[in-house]
């Protein structure tokens, strides 16, 4: 007996010939007949449609003022929530008391409430976490009747604008509620591929019709989890549970851009989030280890868990790795001791009993094309 949950679009995926695999408790399309490599390249060249309905969509409905909600939400994250304007989205991180990362997420100011999107594997814990800490100031309402689709790539705007003209003027990280066939789509101009594109929340009852309408647009093809992973790796984006987790701090992970000035030492709302002591100290002194980009010198991919060395000294581990189809070579990310984290540092990776050379390299591996 399988306890796997089925996506609302399960029938569509099977009709499209998807190979399904278990992921975060869901039966998910890992690839379609096009194959991971071609799907990846298609997304970079045209447009790819991803079903990310496994992710958690949660509404935070304030009981008092929106400002009180924003300040309460800030007590869980080292992030400036208060300055986020209506109609805008921001990247956030739930931290724990040790300064580790409980999850990474997106949150949007939708005027009178907040919409939060969290990782599938963490959503039950995240909802409990928010309920435990925010119930005095807001209702934490999981959205269980909407699919979440991502349309990514250079043709995403053209394709989606033919159905929903209002998306064209949106900029990166804008959010809007826009009509399509008598329903309201919740749209953000964002994604996790490094490409321009959108994430679209659509009521379950219309999701199949909406997905088919997108797939009928020129240049739009369905893309599975396999290519989603290689696209985000080329874009230098972290995958929760791999590149970041409860043992990594946001500073080690190089996510300091997500910690705005207001929450840092001498900021107007300094600290006041779980793990602030460690995180603010690391911002000041630098972390002992850092997440870096890594390029194997040879052609052999180096995967998660591969041990890294500087000369004979152990210096870290690869946390994500594989082949980058747009790069045309193997790529990886991992943590190394800060003394070995400078770009160009030559390291060794232990692969099948041999130590093979690789080089600390800039992230992202493939330039991003967000419409800022």
């Amino acid at each position: 007996m399988s306890d796997l949950k089925l996506l609302g679009l399960d029938d569509l995926h099977r009709e499209l010939g998807a190979r399904m695999v278990p992921f975060a408790g869901y039966d998910m399309p890992v690839q379609y007949p096009m194959g991971v490599m071609a799907e990846h390249l298609h997304c970079r060249a045209s447009a790819g449609l991803f079903d990310v309905s496994h992710m958690g969509q949660v509404i935070l409905q304030p009981k008092g003022s929106f400002e009180a909600l924003a300040l309460g939400f800030e007590s869980l994250m080292p992030v400036d929530v208060l300055s986020l304007a209506p109609g805008r989205q921001r990247y956030g991180l739930f931290t724990n008391d040790a300064g580790g990362i409980l999850d990474d997420l997106m949150f949007a100011n939708r005027g009178d409430h907040m919409l939060v999107v969290v990782n599938a594997a963490c959503k039950t814990a995240d909802i409990a976490h928010m309920k435990a800490h925010l119930s005095d100031i807001c209702d934490v309402i999981p959205v269980n009747n909407r699919a979440l689709l991502a349309l990514q790539g250079p043709l995403a705007e053209t394709a989606l604008a033919r159905l929903v003209p209002g998306v064209a003027p949106m900029r990166f990280m804008d959010v809007a509620v826009l009509p399509w066939q008598d329903t309201a789509l919740w749209i953000s101009r964002s994604g996790y591929t490094g490409e321009d594109g959108y994430e679209i929340s659509v009521p379950d009852v219309l999701a199949d019709r909406f997905a088919r309408a997108l797939l009928a647009m020129p240049g739009v093809a369905p893309i599975g989890l396999g290519a989603r992973d290689s696209l985000r790796l080329e874009a230098g984006l972290c995958l929760y549970g791999h590149d970041i987790d409860t043992a990594t701090s946001p500073v080690e992970a190089g996510l300091t851009w997500a910690i705005q000035k207001a929450r840092r030492t001498d900021g107007i709302r300094e600290g006041g989030f779980p793990g602030a002591a460690r995180i603010l100290t690391e911002l000041f002194t630098g972390p002992a280890r850092k997440r870096v980009g890594l390029r194997p010198d040879g052609r052999a991919p180096m995967r998660e868990g591969t041990a890294l060395f500087h000369n004979e000294t152990s210096t870290g581990t690869i946390t994500s790795g594989g082949f980058g189809p747009s790069v045309g070579a193997p790529i990886a990310m991992g943590y190394v001791d800060t003394g070995h984290a400078a770009e160009g540092t030559a390291l060794l990776a232990e692969l099948r009993g041999k130590r093979l050379p690789l080089t600390v390299s800039p992230l992202p591996f493939h330039p991003t094309s967000y419409k800022r």
Binding site: V30, Q31, G35, V36, M37, A38, H40, G226, D229, S230, R299, A300, P301, R303, G322, F323, P325, P330, R352
Partner: protein, 119 residues
Amino acid sequence: MKYTEDHEWLRVEGDLVVVGITEHAATQLGDIVFVELPEVETMVAEGDEVVVIESVKAASDILAPLDGEIVEVNDKLTTKPGLVNEDPTGAGWFFKMQIDDLSVLDGLMDEDEYLEMIG
């Protein structure tokens, strides 16, 4: 052509045995991006890991199907690993083996038996 339960095919060529993976295996593995071949003149025993192949998603080992000596490897796969997907039973071969007694191939599956195994 003969087949193993590990989805390898074996073809006799003169007194040598050519080894590769089946189209079924290549499709299941997906886009192959790296192949690590053994050294020539290596003596191998049945079940030894002799080739590493990496697809976009995962690494897999290819096992020696028989006891013998690796006498030639398909160096083209080093720079064009995608040949394994494009032509698994032709240009995508991995290595050639010298074995003592070609009659051991009789114990392997023929095409019908292999097709039945993969359903």
